[in-house]
Symmetry: C2
Subunit: 248 residues, 2 copies
């Protein structure tokens, strides 16, 4: 049994606790939480000095707090990882062995996810630490990847485009529907199919629409239709970007 101590009790921490709880190869020996927190039979401490011994310490707190927390750990030479997509491995204190354990997914409170299909991006400073991280990640997910801090940065930026920005385009679609008293539900099968297409086609092959077809009449009609300047600007910029046909 690999012993894990989890530092943090937020969204990502809770999803990790649930996942590890179902694994037969790992055991959460303790959770550190600043705020009151309970989870089934897991021991919770509120003082870092009370942390039990473990094979792996996973810091799952907000990006800004990672460095401080890692400095405050009252031990040395143990394996300490963070779970952030956007923070380099170096922010961790050098008194312990550093690593990264980044599950690339959007976690919603109270919505259970199937961890098996969530890619986990791993980084470490030694082969033996990587072996341990592979074992731990492999106990909850079928997809584990060794990814450098630089590569992870690019993944995180990409994730902003395909998740945060995509969701914002959903919002704009929703806004346009509301203004025109059309149920947004009509668009949901399209949203689903747009995402599904990418599983089998490259985004380039999957691209359709007036910008791709250079259908300037339809583009102009759409621009005339949009009364909001922000929506207009986004429409123009993304249309141009599709027409230029390259973002490299």
């Amino acid at each position: 049994m690999i012993k894990i101590a989890l530092i943090g009790s937020g969204n990502v921490a809770q999803h990790l606790i649930s996942a590890f709880n179902e694994s037969t190869e790992t055991q959460i020996v303790q959770v550190f939480s600043r705020s009151p927190f309970t989870f089934d039979n897991i021991s919770v401490v509120h003082d870092l000095n009370e942390l039990a011994e473990a094979d792996l310490y996973i810091i799952a707190v907000s990006d800004d707090a990672i460095s401080d927390i890692s400095e405050q750990l009252p031990f040395q030479n143990r394996l300490v990882v963070h779970t952030s997509g956007s923070v380099p491995i170096e922010v961790l204190s050098s008194k312990n062995r550093k690593g990264v354990f980044y599950p690339l997914q959007t976690f919603t409170k109270n919505k259970k996810v199937d961890f098996k299909s969530i890619p986990i991006c791993l980084e470490s400073e030694s082969k033996s630490d990587m072996d341990l991280l592979q074992k731990v990640a492999g106990s909850i997910s079928d997809q584990t990847f060794e990814i450098s801090s630089e590569q992870r940065k690019s993944l995180h930026v990409s994730a902003v485009f395909v998740n945060n920005f995509v969701n914002h385009l959903y919002k704009i679609g929703n806004d346009i529907c509301s203004e025109n008293e059309v149920p947004f539900d009509i668009l949901k099968p399209l949203i689903r199919e747009t995402a599904d297409k990418i599983l089998t086609l490259s985004p380039n092959e999957a691209q359709t629409g007036p910008a791709k077809r250079n259908d300037s009449q339809t583009i102009q009609r759409h621009l005339d239709f949009l009364s909001d300047d922000n929506q207009k600007n986004i429409y123009k910029l993304l249309t141009q970007s599709i027409q230029n046909g390259k973002d490299l």
Copy 2:
């Protein structure tokens, strides 16, 4: 049996033929195609003057050709509809009864879709024609909606945002991954979950990320990371738009 003649043999036409072919309430009596085309046991003509009598004529051709084709039809007072999201009902010739039969989905050649879950937006000039369109649409889909030309226009613009533009953001994510030698596959579960979230949460509730959190440090790191001006501009504009929190 409701008799349907299909005018056109492109992507949308083919998907409609397949769907109607499986329905027990409708029958495709004929397909008109300019180019050589065969489909199982369906009669195909290449001259509009040879079109058989039908209860409904569905024009599934490119937007620009709808008006011409409807003018060239060699009969009067029959029900003629087009399948376009962006063309008003008025472009159809007035010598026949007009209507719209717009399946709101992205159709990929050779990829079968489950028509049952595709919303079909209907428009007509009379209640009796609407009744017929509802019957026809209901024979292949569980989701039929009566939608005016003005509402349809707003739906079509929304669809550009949630389909064409979303797919383009996938492409940018793919480009960033390629440049950094990270497999784009790592992002696919996230893409899937981002779309799935919208089925249960509003886009507003589902929004996460540095822009939403006003995490200016991460935003600056991402902008520094992006070397392509086009990607930078899109990142800035969409971040601003999320931060303004309103697109209405």
